[in-house]
Symmetry: C2
Subunit: 305 residues, 2 copies
């Protein structure tokens, strides 16, 4: 099984009510790859600048993330600076320096072009489409997006949705894209636009999964403190798609596997927000993941009537 | 088993994106009583004016709601006028006419004073406390509240919480009362203030249940359209407390029974919002309730690892 992710790798400066970090490892592809690496080997395609710290590369390689597709371009690495206040669901962007990311043109190495599982992390949908021209009939394609592209790149985004199997987005994005206030209507509408699976992430309120045959609702793991929500959505996607890839490489894609994947994604996201940047994930074990999976089962179970 | 509810009975004029009703049957005690009546006979204590339509009394009596404690006072019935816009989670109050409700002093009829199960619907906490001086050692006391009392009657509300077993409130109220942004922290904190069960209602995002030993998270039932959210919280409370009363009258109060009660409450709330006022509940059957309970189980289940 082989899983390809294309997206951003960057340095994040983040402030929350619980503390701050400066130029910590971040980026959608980074979080995704790290979370997915617990389930499958990951191939990462992205770009960093010449200033990108070697230690971050080492960290990713140690988790089995292949970096042959990580281009080192002349110039500075992509940087994001943000803060979270009382309401940790909402990030306030203080500064974005695109740097080498501004002219990023994903080039999928030949050895990666036959990847079975492809995740298009949140980048310009025109680039996401461009990636799909470079891969050879993947078994499963999933993508994420963001409010900026919904506003400025609606047409390419809609074209992309016709080509992906799984669309992962958050509640605000789902409402913005479909112009529906009901997330149930939004999810079902998105299914008609191409993807056969739609996953709506609701932060502290959990996740909704839609297919033509199924609807599934999962809560978020009950954490007293969320130290840093940065990357939670990407970790969700990594756990979700990673566990699907592990399952689906030799079995058909079932409703049960999709539901399990939602829980694995939620588990990875819940660990990630316990500390800043990737700090918590770097000490995470498979045992801890499985224990929290079982706790998810405990907190949602009720007896029949 | 006998279940007493004290709260408002009124006439609601409501506008939502899907339509409008004028002077329809409403009030927290009304919705609660109607929803609870599917599980247990209900005794209602409240006040209406001389203009209160006889047909509404007939409707409640037909569902086994005892109205010996419903005072008919000189003057006009309590009226509320509100609207919901795009975001159906938030009611906009356009007008409140307290009328006879302004001087309401709950008087519990002698025959009701030994009620085993007491629900204090959302009224001034000083009056909720006053009710507790009139009842004789109920087995289970639950209460609701609202933002107005949290702001203006904090001390009596905190005194009340020391005397109730179950506290039901919504997410905004939980945050306002505890000054915690995390609902998990808010719920656990409220447990320290008196109640042994705390239930936080999150509208379209479902319900969280907290006890010293347990945490349970339930989604809301996935409805494409919510026609009128008015009374959803009271119907939740009615289904929740009604099903608890039915269970607990001859069995100890278990974690399993509390979780089941959350689902029954969610089922009643989900039916109620499908039409205006009490319209949907008046045609509801026990069969439909049990079917939707099983659907709740279907949409939350996932396989172990």
């Amino acid at each position: 099984m082989n899983l390809l992710v294309v997206g951003s790798v960057g340095l994040d400066t983040v402030k929350t009510p619980f503390g701050a970090v400066k130029e910590a490892l971040g980026g959608s592809a980074t979080y995704f790859a790290y979370a997915a690496s617990f389930f499958a080997p990951v191939r990462l395609v992205g770009v960093v600048g010449e200033d990108f710290p070697q230690e971050h590369l080492t960290l990713l390689r140690q988790r089995g993330v292949h970096l042959d597709g990580l281009e080192v371009a002349p110039g500075r690495t992509f940087r994001w600076q943000g803060s979270y206040e009382y309401d940790l669901n909402e990030a306030h962007t203080l500064a974005t320096e695109l740097n080498v990311f501004e002219t990023f043109q994903p080039k999928i190495p030949t050895a990666y072009q036959a990847s079975e599982f492809v995740f298009l992390a949140n980048i310009n949908p025109e680039l996401q489409l461009e990636v799909l021209t470079q891969v050879k009939a993947p078994r499963l394609i999933a993508c994420d997006t963001m409010n900026l592209w919904i506003r400025t790149k609606r047409e390419p985004l809609l074209a992309l949705l016709k080509q992906v199997h799984i669309f992962i987005l958050n509640d605000g994005e789902a409402r913005q894209l479909t112009q529906q206030s009901s997330l149930i209507k939004a999810g079902r509408l998105l299914l008609q636009w191409g993807p056969r699976v739609v996953v709506i992430k609701k932060g502290e309120h959990g996740v909704l999964l839609f297919t033509q045959q199924d609807f599934f609702a999962a809560p978020a793991f009950p954490l007293e403190e969320v130290y840093d929500p940065t990357g939670a959505g990407d970790c969700f996607a990594g756990g979700f798609f990673g566990s699907l890839a592990r399952h689906h490489h030799d079995q058909p894609l079932t409703t049960a596997a999709l539901r399990q994947a939602v829980i694995f994604g939620s588990v990875l996201a819940s660990f990630n927000v316990e500390r800043f940047s990737l700090e918590r994930l770097t000490s995470l074990t498979l045992d801890e993941i499985q224990t929290r999976y079982r706790q998810f089962s405990d907190i949602t179970h009720f007896s029949p009537v």
